[in-house]
């Protein structure tokens, strides 16, 4: 399972999502979209919008931090 999170440095819900991943022993890759323009473009292309965080769990893309949604995506991704 691959978890990608697109963030900005000041975004509270990004911090909450990262803390959630850490507390559940989930590995994630973080992209600070203020530092990497290509990742910003990738995030917008994936989510069709310009808000952070965007979380991509094995292709399931969600905007914002929603524990239930992450849980479901992790569960359905855990068999892969």
């Amino acid at each position: 399972m691959t978890i990608k999170i697109y963030t900005t440095p000041t975004c509270v819900y990004c911090k909450m999502a990262k803390e959630y991943f850490k507390s559940h022993d989930l590995q994630y890759e973080e992209y600070d979209v203020t530092k990497d323009r290509s990742k910003l473009d990738e995030m917008v292309a994936k989510s069709h919008q310009m808000g952070v965080p965007v979380i991509d769990i094995d292709g399931t893309v969600m905007v914002g931090f929603d524990r239930d949604y992450i849980e479901q995506a992790v569960k359905s991704g855990s068999g892969k």
Partner: protein, 305 residues
């Protein structure tokens, strides 16, 4: 049956929770998240006893303080959906499908972002229309931007945009700014901000993303257009009082009417404090203080005093 159910996890809810535990009240606190609306603030400099703290750290410290109380029960990630009168008290239904019975209730559910309610706002939500400047301001680097509002949140959104946007139009409905003079000075000194008074946003337009807005210039009564890459909407707040409608008196704007001496609502057994109430000031410190006032009064009520 609980002695008390606290609905809300901002500074008011936590303050009441700490006091309730010390009074040994059998208490449940229901909240969607901790910290209240200032959770997304970069920096809070007026939380008394703390020179400076981020909204995120304040929300964590509030949560920790509450969880340090031994007896209090917490249903987090949950939300009160409705309240009904039952024998000897009330029943609270929650988003998790639970029903809780209680003798008293303290409503500290706060308020949420008000929307402009203009064409294009929903369509472009997240596509140039934004409500969290600390989160999303950096995404608009190199663009000309608009901010709607004239209070502290609007001024802070401008400040958040200054390092990134090439220009910021601040659209103020009235003829003056209401936010703190310190922040007003900061944005005026930047040289990047054009403040437009008596401006009413009428439409947000674009293709895939926002490329412009229209506003009514009330001074000349003409509609003008600005080419901007996005707009942050910071026009104040609206109360989270839908779940309590019909149970307590609300004012015309939906805020819970309270007796400011003791925070009682129109319904015996229900108290309210903080941003949900009809008080004129919305502040973390006031929410905490008013909530403690409510708790002490409801403690007396439970003890028949």
């Amino acid at each position: 049956m609980y002695d008390l159910i606290i609905i809300g996890g901002g500074p008011g809810g936590v303050a009441a929770g700490v006091y309730a535990d010390r009074k040994k009240l059998k208490t449940l606190l229901i909240t969607d998240e901790f910290g209240g609306q200032s959770k997304v603030s970069d920096e809070i400099q007026n939380w008394i006893g703390t020179k400076s703290i981020s909204g995120f750290d304040l929300s964590k410290s509030l949560e920790e303080h509450l969880r340090a109380q031994k007896e209090i029960e917490i249903s987090d990630d949950d939300l009160a959906l409705s309240v009904a009168k039952i024998d000897g008290g009330f029943e609270v239904n929650t988003r998790k499908g639970k029903k809780y019975q209680t003798k008293t209730i303290l409503i500290v559910s706060g308020s949420h972002h008000k929307q402009l309610g203009v064409p294009g706002e929903d369509k472009f939500n997240g596509k140039g229309v934004a409500y969290c400047s600390t989160c999303d301001a950096p995404l608009f680097a190199g663009k000309e931007m608009a901010v709607a509002g004239g209070g502290n949140s609007a001024l802070e959104a401008v400040v958040d945009l200054l390092p990134y946007a090439t220009k910021v139009y601040l659209l103020v409905r009235s003829d003056k700014l209401k936010g703190d003079p310190v922040t007003q000075d900061q944005i005026k000194a930047s040289g990047k901000v054009q403040i437009i008074f008596n401006a009413e946003v009428q439409e947000i337009s674009g293709d895939a993303f926002v490329d412009g807005i229209k506003y009514l210039d009330k001074t000349s009564n003409s509609v003008r257009e600005l080419l901007v890459g996005g707009i942050f909407v910071e026009i104040g707040s609206a109360p989270n009082s839908d779940f309590i409608k019909g149970m307590v008196d609300l004012n015309e704007y939906g805020y819970v009417v309270v007796d400011s001496k003791n925070q009682r609502t129109s319904t015996p057994g229900i108290w309210a404090a903080g941003d949900i109430t009809d008080l004129p000031f919305r502040q973390n410190n006031i929410s905490a203080g008013d909530s403690v006032k409510a708790l002490l009064d409801l403690y007396n009520y439970l003890n028949g005093r």
